[in-house]
């Protein structure tokens, strides 16, 4: 049996999904008499109406942007845990630009454009700190990223309760919402915007092309797969590592910018909504390949949105989506491990 063949890979992947579903069903069966009903409700809750579908897409775009960025750092062999902070900084930069320019003579479209651009810049800056720490300070990117995440959260709270607080009193509900001329235009009365959909799709396509068709992508992958050999071959490895952080940070910043301009229209304390961490899961699940990122991210977004139904309809906790997502990743990794073991035995 050739355990590296695509068919065997697919079989193991299928088995992993199957096992994850069984596991989630067992967890459900412990809390309700009707586990299948729960799945049905999640399905209805995510695809049951146009409004629901658009809500799923609202979650999909930032998740897809985060995943796209993470594919770059994963390719370079890096674990960019700091992505949450990078999304947050993207949101902060975006908010800052809109706050500064709202009411100015610039057309609103220009303001939105500049704010999104600076969001990407903010994310990239925050990521560059992790990169510097990693490359020149010898601090593992996981620890550096984790630290920067806390700093980002603290910064958000300080802004919301300090300089940017609502007139009167600061509250957890965030800063004062912007005038709706500074919102990304929505489709009808749906919450999703063509613009954010466009940014998300363009992002993943760009990353796919970058990683699969360019010298940059191939070299990045060489650095990630064997840094020592890449260095001996004469590749400037540190530059590639830094570039991957910057690109991932920029994509994370874009995700933050979309959250601000397209979804919340203000800065809120948990602006990243955990899409960074979820993106890490998606990245692992698709085995760091860009091809599958979009559908899997859509599936994860649907789970997140659909499970909101659970507490409403069935009085179940909405954490089910997290259980299923976590179980999926764990079982896929486990099955990969089993496959590798079989490979080693040969």
């Amino acid at each position: 049996m050739d355990v590296t063949s695509p068919r065997i890979r697919f079989l193991f992947g299928f088995l992993a999904v199957f096992l994850a579903l069984i596991f989630a069903t067992i967890v459900l069966a412990l809390t309700t008499d009707d586990p299948l009903g729960a799945y049905y409700n999640v399905l209805i809750g995510s695809f049951g109406s146009m409004t629901k579908l658009s809500d799923v897409l609202v979650a999909w775009v930032p998740l897809l942007l985060a995943t796209s960025g993470l594919l770059v750092t994963f390719t370079a062999g890096l674990w960019n845990i700091g992505i949450e902070g990078q999304i947050t900084l993207g949101a902060i930069f975006t908010t800052a630009v809109i706050k500064a320019l709202q009411g100015s003579d610039l057309p609103p479209e220009m303001v939105i454009f500049l704010s999104i651009l600076s969001g990407a810049l903010g994310g990239a800056l925050w990521a560059s700190a992790v990169g510097w720490l990693k490359i020149y300070g010898g601090v593992n990117e996981i620890f550096g990223g984790l630290g920067m995440n806390f700093v980002a959260t603290a910064l958000t709270l300080w802004l919301i309760f300090g300089p940017w607080k609502r007139p009167g009193i600061g509250s957890m509900s965030g800063t004062e919402p912007f005038n709706s001329i500074y919102w990304l235009p929505q489709i009808g009365d749906l919450r999703i915007s063509w613009w954010s959909l466009g940014i998300g799709i363009a992002g993943i396509v760009l990353i796919y092309l970058l990683l699969n068709g360019t010298y940059f992508g191939l070299r990045l992958s060489a650095v990630g797969k064997n840094g020592k050999a890449a260095y001996l071959m004469g590749l400037p490895t540190t530059r590639y590592l830094m570039m991957s952080f910057l690109i991932c940070g920029a994509f994370a910043g874009l995700a933050g910018a979309v959250q601000v301009t397209g979804v919340y229209h203000r800065l809120i304390p948990s602006i990243s909504s955990g899409y960074g961490f979820l993106g890490l899961l998606v990245g692992m699940l698709v085995n760091y390949q860009a091809v599958w990122a979009a559908p899997v991210a859509l599936f994860f977004a649907a789970l997140n949105i659909g499970s909101i139904q659970l507490p409403i309809v069935m009085k179940l906790d909405s954490a089910l989506s997290g259980v299923l997502q976590g179980a999926l990743v764990l079982f896929v990794l486990l099955m990969n491990g089993v496959r590798q073991r079989l490979l080693g035995k040969q």
Partner: protein, 487 residues
């Protein structure tokens, strides 16, 4: 304790590392285990100490068969191994290291351990402070600590793997005295080494291994010539050397000094001419690797100058060396040379020149196909490189080398290759020489060194010999120099 090994076999893939080895070691004896790198001595000792398991064969202790499936098992049977690099915990204190490996109890009995350590130090005449940190100790002291720890754990058989590398002469004398004292107390000692003078001086018997086979187990008086021949096999002569193209100097080393935590090489002067092949001989860890990395720009000299084509390149970064036509091919092909997970085409794209931003996949595939044919690599453009055999990986590594190189630095260019592949590799390398490139290569195969080099440098314990003309040198002479004789 009397140890008996019966018909030990061990395979690593295609390599037969231990081939039917039977050996009897008397209680209280000092048994030498001699052999060149890769002869199978470490494998045999690792089997005895439970690090790895034999494929077949028996181990008997005082006539009773025992099964050793882990190092903990071995120490339970009274067998302890002192590794070449001490397996201790440098950031911890001496006394904590001493306690590690102790069985039973949640709370270690520090007082008893301290008493034990001090008593043993007195008996063996060591003086290590129990509260010192291990990373402050010398390698010799760390060995002493390891010996005491193993004895305290109840070892009656001590295996020492190359214990005299990296310690001073004084510490070596001390170690030998200790070992003789321990042997008198009935401890059985297995002394693994490639240093002829050490085993000749210390051991009551010497077992010689060559390519996995026990060639003999000799008793004193020893004849050095006989031992060398047993280690390296019969002297075979080959032809096939290209004369130096001209006497144009390509690279000059002036009073170079190399230092790392084990070695201190001083005042190396050497000049290399265009098209020349220089073989670097010596036991592993004698400084050849450092020398090669120095030439690659990966290690900076602590003194002296490197001139390439008359230009001072001392202290320049590695990338500068690469740009100036120096190429380094590491021995660990998959670890340092190639990219597991990438295909052959990917490798050729990476090594080739960048044309634009987007990769022309179809063109790249065709070029890869051409290279694959030119270098007779058994694979396709889409084969992942880790799926290739060792010989084909080496061919790939060669195929990746840029044209127009000035200096090729090779570590074990034919290690693990069959004869046909080796010949082929050298054919390609000689072609490079005819185009004006010079080669430095490390090899533990003396025949290969003498066959292909114009000149040979021998490394021994941080010293580098004067360049020897390969045509005027025999494997015997080389073997003696490598073993530390005749310096």
């Amino acid at each position: 304790m009397r140890i008996e090994l019966r018909h030990i076999h061990k395979h690593f893939g295609k390599v037969h590392a231990n081939n039917d080895i039977s050996l009897m070691i008397e209680s209280g004896g000092i048994q030498g285990i001699l052999g060149e790198n890769g002869a199978g001595k470490s494998t045999l000792m690792k089997i005895l100490s439970g690090f790895i398991q034999a494929d077949s064969g028996e181990i008997l202790m005082d006539g009773k068969q025992i099964i050793i499936s882990s190092p903990a098992d071995a120490i339970r049977h009274g067998i302890g191994m002192l590794h070449q690099d001490p397996l201790d915990f440098p950031p911890m204190r001496v006394i904590d290291n001493f306690l590690i490996g102790q069985r039973g109890g949640i709370f270690p009995d520090r007082k008893a351990a301290l008493r034990g350590l001090m008593e043993m130090q007195q008996k063996l005449d060591f003086s290590i402070s129990p509260s010192a940190y291990v990373d402050m100790l010398t390698v010799g002291e760390r060995q002493q600590l390891e010996i005491m720890r193993l004895l305290w754990l109840g070892a009656r058989v001590l295996i020492l793997d190359e214990p005299t590398t990296g310690i001073s002469a004084l510490q070596k004398d001390k170690l030998f005295a200790t070992l003789k004292q321990l042997a008198k107390q009935g401890i059985t000692i297995l002394f693994v080494s490639h240093k002829l003078e050490d085993v000749e001086y210390l051991c009551e018997k010497i077992a010689v291994l060559r390519r996995g086979v026990l060639v003999g187990n000799v008793s004193p008086p020893y004849s050095t010539d006989e031992l060398v021949e047993m280690m390296f096999g019969k002297v075979v002569s080959f032809g096939g050397r290209d004369p130096c193209l001209n006497n144009e100097e390509l690279l000059t080393l002036e009073n170079i000094g190399i230092e790392d935590d084990r070695l201190n090489i001083r005042d190396v002067n050497f000049s290399l001419c265009r098209g020349e092949v220089v073989g670097l001989a010596g036991m592993e860890g004698s400084g050849q690797r450092q020398f090669l990395r120095l030439l690659a720009g990966l290690l900076r000299p602590v003194a002296g100058k490197i001139l390439l084509d008359g230009k001072d390149i001392t202290g320049k970064p590695y990338h500068y060396f690469v740009k100036n036509g120096v190429s380094y091919m590491p021995a660990a092909r998959l670890e340092e040379g190639l990219f597991p997970g990438l295909t052959l085409t990917d490798h050729f794209i990476l090594a080739g020149e960048q044309k634009g931003f987007i990769i022309q996949r179809e063109l790249a595939r065709q070029q890869a196909q051409k290279k694959i044919e030119e270098f007779s690599i058994f694979g396709t453009p889409t084969s992942p490189v880790e799926a290739l055999s060792g010989g084909n990986q080496q061919r790939t590594l060669l195929a990746l080398q840029r044209p127009g190189l000035k200096i090729l630095l090779l570590e074990h260019p034919t290690r693990g290759l069959d004869i046909e592949s080796s010949l082929w590799v050298w054919e390609k390398l000689k072609e490079r020489c005819r185009q004006g490139a010079s080669i430095f290569f490390i090899s533990s195969d003396l025949e290969e060194i003498l066959q292909y080099s114009d000149r040979v440098l021998v490394f021994y314990g941080g010293k580098i010999s004067q360049p020897l003309k390969a045509e005027e040198t025999t494997t015997d002479q080389l073997g003696q120099l490598i073993g530390g004789k005749g310096w």
